[in-house]
Symmetry: C2
Subunit: 376 residues, 2 copies
């Protein structure tokens, strides 16, 4: 099939790397020059709302998917009137607005932190009354990698953050969580669903740095709760493709934070740690194949390469370290690649992760760790 | 690095799919239009001895490799005078001529079937005296997929085959082998070597149809013999890259048949059955990384898709079946893709292979099997 991808970044790159062996050809709509996916198909260099480019995609593709959730609604609607757009545009609408997303969770009976809209300064008091303090004030739209949000400890601080972020905000109770988890799931056009194990994620400066899968210490019951929760969201959205739900684990309970209607950084370990990656499963799902239930040979980890490249030859020389570069020009805070780690038990993966981590420029000494589930 | 590949077929395609995540960019020299590797880099559409195209490669690449052994010697020499050509051109010379190849085996103390050159009708008697009957008469050059050879049972038959094949032949004793095995190995520029397990191969009409890895019933001693043999060849050729040695197993002994100085169809299972594939190891080796010792999670199998496509959706829907298509127009005898099979023990892999095999058009009922090591 001819697959068009809105966005030509590393996610599009890895989608194509997974989809080309299945016999597909790729086209990317991507405004920035020389994008990471550029070697893997045709690039339409145009804005995401360029009518000519959208018309060309409608002619030249059999199915459209996307690698980020901020696809303009009008673009999605234009395309969806002409050919399948998967995941369905409803998934974009439901996840572009954090308030709509939280309300969907609530309607579906999925636990979240207490939240409240903040549309005006007058609403701030009611919002903080609903959430309590400390709270997180965030933009309803376009936030990513920790941008567009701040933790506040007082009404005065909240007012100041509100003034700086502008209108269209959301307040949430700051959750004193034990750790951040995520679940990556896929649903086929036929409704078949598969789930990857809960993954433990570590952020710094709002950017994912490290993931471990399966997250250590997760009971089958907790995994079942997460699968049920992700499954419920997918059913509600009549979903096809891969979806990730970011979660907080607090006192043994899972709170939903947000949904990404796409392949997700916390699922990159599946390229080496599962027999079918999230990228292959996304392509399978949007092209009409059933997603494949992933099999894991053992635990895996993923370390992001952020801002600056390490000695990539030294990384690649470490047994069990699998290098994935995105062909991007280094810039502070930019995700340039990742390293997947496999082989042996959790202790062995942890030891390999430690060796790789030590080679990553700009990262603090010592892997990020959850006290109760530290890297061994 | 900028990697140029001579040839843009499925092997070039899979080299690029493995090399792009390592941060490399690919250019292919390929005379035929719309080649399988065409989506994965720049294609120079020119003959392999085109001076302009070779000059462009010399300018635009950091290293040159190839996906087939019949690279014109003059092209290899031209490029090797200007940039690294790996595996080294000596490997091409040693393997383009089956007589030179057998003589190399003999010099290295590697057992082969008795052989003798047949340069003229007058030499046929001496050749058959050396080999005995039945014998195989084959061209010294350019044979592939069983083309350019015939089994003969009498001097008359031999004379007739000689007349049809023309000059430049080789006679070999027909080996009453139990099965065909191969070993895929990699050697880095620094001399580091890694080996995949011996693989059992099944041909029909001279075309590989099925492989199993590890070949069942192989003792550690036999694996060691094969590694020693492949290692000896790599040292002799001062090799960098992946190399495959095709072998006959006869009465517990290995006889070398031929060497392929490249990634090899019998190593395609490594894409799903090993944590580092032959393609990644080839790219690693020619770009200066050490090859990675492969880890296998369990047994694997590979079934080629030859001549006609199956219902690819039905194949891909079978759990444990991994589809790899080459984006080629179907034609009788043409390799269009392959299916790797993983998951569970040998019996489970065999059962999955049986299900996939039943979907492959034109294949006889029942998987090919070695009586003593049948698919279970």
């Amino acid at each position: 099939m001819r697959v068009a991808v809105l966005g030509g970044g590393q996610l599009g790159r890895m989608l194509a790397l997974a989809g080309i062996p299945l016999g597909h050809r790729f086209t990317f709509l991507e405004p920035s020059p020389d994008p990471p996916a550029g070697q893997l198909g045709k690039v339409l260099a145009a804005p995401y709302d360029d009518p000519g480019a959208l018309a060309r995609i409608a002619e030249a593709a059999d199915v459209v998917t996307y690698e980020f959730e901020n696809v303009p609604a009008a673009s999605a609607a234009f395309l969806a009137a002409r050919l399948p757009v998967l995941p369905p545009p409803a998934a974009l609408l439901a996840t572009q607005d954090r308030l709509a997303e939280k309300r969907m969770f609530r309607q579906l009976g999925i636990p979240t932190a207490p939240f409240h809209p903040v549309d005006s300064p007058a609403q701030l008091g009611a919002a903080l009354a609903a959430t309590g303090l400390p709270a997180v004030i965030k933009t309803r739209r376009f936030g990513y990698d920790g941008k567009g949000q701040a933790v506040v400890h007082s009404a005065e601080e909240a007012a100041s953050v509100q003034a700086s972020l502008g209108p269209g905000l959301l307040a949430e109770r700051f959750v004193d969580f034990e750790r951040e988890l995520s679940i990556v799931a896929a649903r086929g056009r036929d409704g078949g669903r598969v789930f990857y194990p809960l993954t433990e994620n570590h952020h710094r400066d709002g950017i994912l740095r490290a993931s471990r899968a399966p997250a250590p210490g997760v009971s089958p019951e907790l995994q079942a709760v997460a699968e049920d929760l992700a499954g419920t969201v997918m059913e509600r959205l009549e979903y096809a493709g891969v979806l990730a739900v970011e979660l907080f684990e607090a006192r043994g309970r899972l709170l939903a934070n947000e949904v990404a209607p796409r392949v997700h950084n916390s699922g990159h370990w599946t390229l080496d740690g599962a027999d079918t990656s999230q990228f292959e499963n996304h392509v399978r799902a949007v092209t009409g194949l059933p997603p494949a239930a992933p099999r894991m040979a053992g635990p895996a980890a993923m370390l992001n390469i952020v801002g600056e490249l390490p000695d990539t030859a030294a990384v690649a020389a470490i047994p069990g370290a699998h290098l994935h570069l995105y062909d991007k020009v280094p810039r502070p805070g930019r995700k340039l690649g990742h390293v997947n780690i496999t082989g042996g038990d959790e202790a062995a993966v942890g030891e390999t992760a430690r060796r790789v981590w030590a080679l990553l420029p700009g990262e603090p000494s010592g892997l990020p760790a959850v006290p109760s589930h530290g890297w061994r």
